[in-house]
């Protein structure tokens, strides 16, 4: 018999509501952005973007306030365990806000140029951010799934945002159909988890599963095989979202077809959300299944996926000429690197995961911002050749681009290097021989990656400008974009040379995973 909810709890109180204050504010601003779009005349629609940015600022302030007031109380559980706030959720919510803010900022001129300036766009980004924030703060399968869908559904629409563009439609259709299918698989897996454990609360699931991994009890039978099935299904759904290799086919098409600003957003925001969900599921709920007696645990599964992901991603990226496709494959490869941190299971690995996601957000949005800027200057900017001679036309943009590209490649003295160092280092630090081999493969992969990142540099600095550029006028970035990009680039360099502040932040996440999740029995229904 599953435990019935016989005793009905009273209504959630104001205490509970206080913990979702940032999310409430975000919801209000997202709704208001929709209304504002109707109220504004056609020529003033871009004001919605600034309104959304102000909203995100408010959300950040509310979040900071919440952190300041509750930092000592973490982890917090509210809404009967539906809400679960720990260090990981705090850090990643900031990451999501930054990702959304960057995407909105870079979108304003782009949408103006494409004549698609509408409030829905910003509302959808805000709603997606809301979903991500709830993914980071949910402690229950139901809440997790609903918020995950909230996050994904907005992006499906955003990918198809340019209705007149056939590529956008095609990308949206592909992404939507495969995405929904993977969500359904994941839901099936979650239902199996519930069926085996009888709980939807992550902490209680973890506790129950911990009792099963030794082979179950006479009363329960041996549910490990069923849990394996559930694990594979859940992992399939999540790995789809982060475009890990058996499930990566959608990524190049969707990245290429989507409006470039949306590509920038989905390569950092929802992806980070999926990493958070992956961490929540694998490192918390299903943590006892990392390694099981007589059966492969998820560590082995994930290791195989990680190796495949980075190898396939890097090798496929080498032959690409389209910048967006190339970056799609590069982001697949990066997904592989990040999975390594989860596989290693050490503090250092988790720090690497958090560190790399944070810096990757800066670098990837930066690269896309410059591609977007090229685009609105009359250059389509999606072919690698379009970058030819960028240095002579727009030296500052080229230098910024170079910094971000070097960061993605993981050149020492950029933040990308530190992230990779942590991720690969954690494999060796864990002391298991098979992980060391994986580390070697990873380093080889990073070398392959240098090649295609170097193509960017060659195009920008060594090649002469193409003849057929429609508009050869110097590239001008909007002041706000220029400042943001410069700050991002400085951050990439700064954290590459002196990473300690960001490592401290990443450590919050790692501590949250290693210490808080380990005592999962303490986290139950309020």
């Amino acid at each position: 018999m599953l435990p019935l909810l016989v005793e009905l709890p009273p209504l959630p109180t104001l205490r509970d509501t206080a913990f979702i204050m940032p999310e409430i504010i975000l919801t209000l601003f997202a709704g208001a952005a929709l209304v504002l779009d109707v109220a504004l005349p056609r020529s003033k629609k871009h004001l919605t973007a600034y309104f959304s940015l102000i909203g995100l600022a408010f959300v950040a302030i509310a979040l900071a306030q919440q952190v300041a007031m509750t930092a000592s109380l973490l982890p917090i559980s509210a809404f009967y365990g539906m809400l679960f706030i720990d260090g990981l959720s705090v850090v990643f919510r900031f990451v999501f806000i930054v990702a959304a803010a960057f995407s909105i900022l870079y979108s304003i001129k782009y949408l103006e140029f494409e004549r698609e300036q509408r409030g829905e766009y910003y509302a959808l980004i805000l709603f997606s951010t809301l979903g991500m924030m709830f993914v980071a703060t949910s402690g229950d399968l139901i809440a997790l799934f609903v918020s995950f869908e909230l996050m994904s559904l907005s992006v499906y629409v955003l990918v198809g945002y340019f209705k007149r563009d056939k590529r956008s439609n095609e990308a949206a259709m592909k992404y939507f159909l495969t995405g929904i299918f993977s969500s359904a698989l994941m839901l099936y897996g979650l239902s199996l988890v519930y069926g085996v454990t009888g709980h939807t609360n992550l902490g209680l699931i973890s506790e129950t599963i911990a009792g099963y991994v030794q082979g179950g009890t006479a009363e329960s039978g041996d549910p490990r095989l069923l849990l394996m099935v559930a694990l594979v299904l859940v992992a399939a759904g999540l790995l789809f979202k982060i475009a890990a290799v058996p499930f990566h086919m959608w990524a190049p098409d969707a990245y290429e077809g989507a409006p470039t600003t949306v590509t920038a957003f989905m390569s950092v925001g929802p992806k980070a959300g999926a990493y958070v969900l992956l961490a929540r599921m694998l490192l918390f709920a299903l943590a006892p299944m990392r390694e099981m007696e007589n059966l492969p645990g998820w560590a082995a599964l994930l290791a195989v996926v990680a190796v495949l992901t980075m190898t396939v991603g890097n090798l496929a990226a080498v032959t690409q000429d389209n910048v967006k496709r190339l970056l799609a494959y590069s982001s697949i490869a990066h997904a592989g690197y990040i999975l390594l941190g989860i596989v290693s299971g050490t503090d250092m690995g988790y720090q690497g995961v958090a560190f790399h996601i944070m810096t990757y957000t800066l670098m990837n949005t930066g690269v896309f911002a410059i591609i977007i800027a090229l685009h609105r200057q009359g250059v389509i900017g999606e072919n690698l050749n379009d970058l030819n001679g960028l240095f002579s036309r727009a030296p500052s943009a080229a230098v910024l681009m170079l910094i971000f590209i070097l960061g993605l490649a993981g050149i020492p003295s950029t933040a990308g290097f530190v992230g990779k160092f942590f991720l690969f280092g954690s494999l060796i630090q864990s002391g298991k021989p098979w992980l060391t081999y994986i580390a070697i493969i990873a380093v080889l992969n990073a070398v392959v990656a240098f090649y295609y990142y170097a193509r960017f540099a060659r195009a920008m600095f060594l090649n002469a400008p193409s003849e057929n550029i429609a508009d050869a006028s110097p590239l001008l970035l909007a002041p706000s974009v220029r400042i943001t990009l410069t700050l991002s680039a400085i951050a990439v360099l700064f954290f590459g040379i002196y990473p300690q502040p960001l490592i401290n932040v990443a450590d919050i996440v790692a501590q949250s995973i290693t210490t808080v999740y380990a005592q999962s029995s303490g986290i139950a229904l309020r």
Binding site: M1, L8, M82, F134, L150, S154, V157, G160, R164
Partner: protein
């Protein structure tokens, strides 16, 4: 075999038969129809588990509303039975049956290991209890779902709206 088991087997057969028919039938309208049959069986299974509200909602929402729209679209587009597929992927059909068998065997193996009665019973699914649970324990997901639906409406409107130039 008790009466309950007999009913279960009957409805489960309805669900599975409907599902298989959806896959096998070439005419999309028949497929939709088979899906509705499957939903009706599913709803009966819910009711047998004491989840009466879910059972009724299953029919109202899926069989009543969603499948209605499906049928509507099929009728409007006048979709006829699929033409024969080009023989390019024929081998996949032969691959599908063994793979499905393999999957079934694996699932059977997995489920066979588990023991114990895991069916919720009693009044868990009555309207009163579902309502109270939605307003207390599941308030947050409930509200999140409403945001999700709002978002879906906005997205659908955006994609379907005709541009005025």
């Amino acid at each position: 075999m008790t009466f309950q088991q007999l009913l279960f087997i009957g409805f489960a057969a309805l669900v599975l038969g409907g599902g298989i028919a959806v896959v096998l039938l070439r005419n999309p309208l028949y497929g939709a129809f088979a899906l509705i049959t499957s939903f009706v069986g599913l709803s009966a299974l819910y009711v047998m588990m004491g989840a009466q509200f879910i059972g009724a909602a299953q029919i109202v929402v899926y069989a009543g509303a969603i499948m209605m729209l499906f049928v509507f679209v099929i009728m409007l587009l006048n979709v006829r039975a699929d033409e024969e597929r080009p023989p390019r992927h024929r081998f996949l059909v032969w691959l599908a049956a063994p793979l499905a068998l393999l999957l079934s065997a694996g699932l059977w193996l997995a489920v066979a290991g588990v023991q114990g009665d895991r069916a919720p019973s009693g009044e868990a699914g009555t309207v009163e209890r579902v309502g109270k649970n939605l307003m207390t324990r599941y308030l947050l997901p409930f509200e999140l779902t409403s945001v999700l639906i709002l978002l879906a409406v906005v997205g659908a409107l955006h994609l379907a709206k005709r541009e005025k130039e």
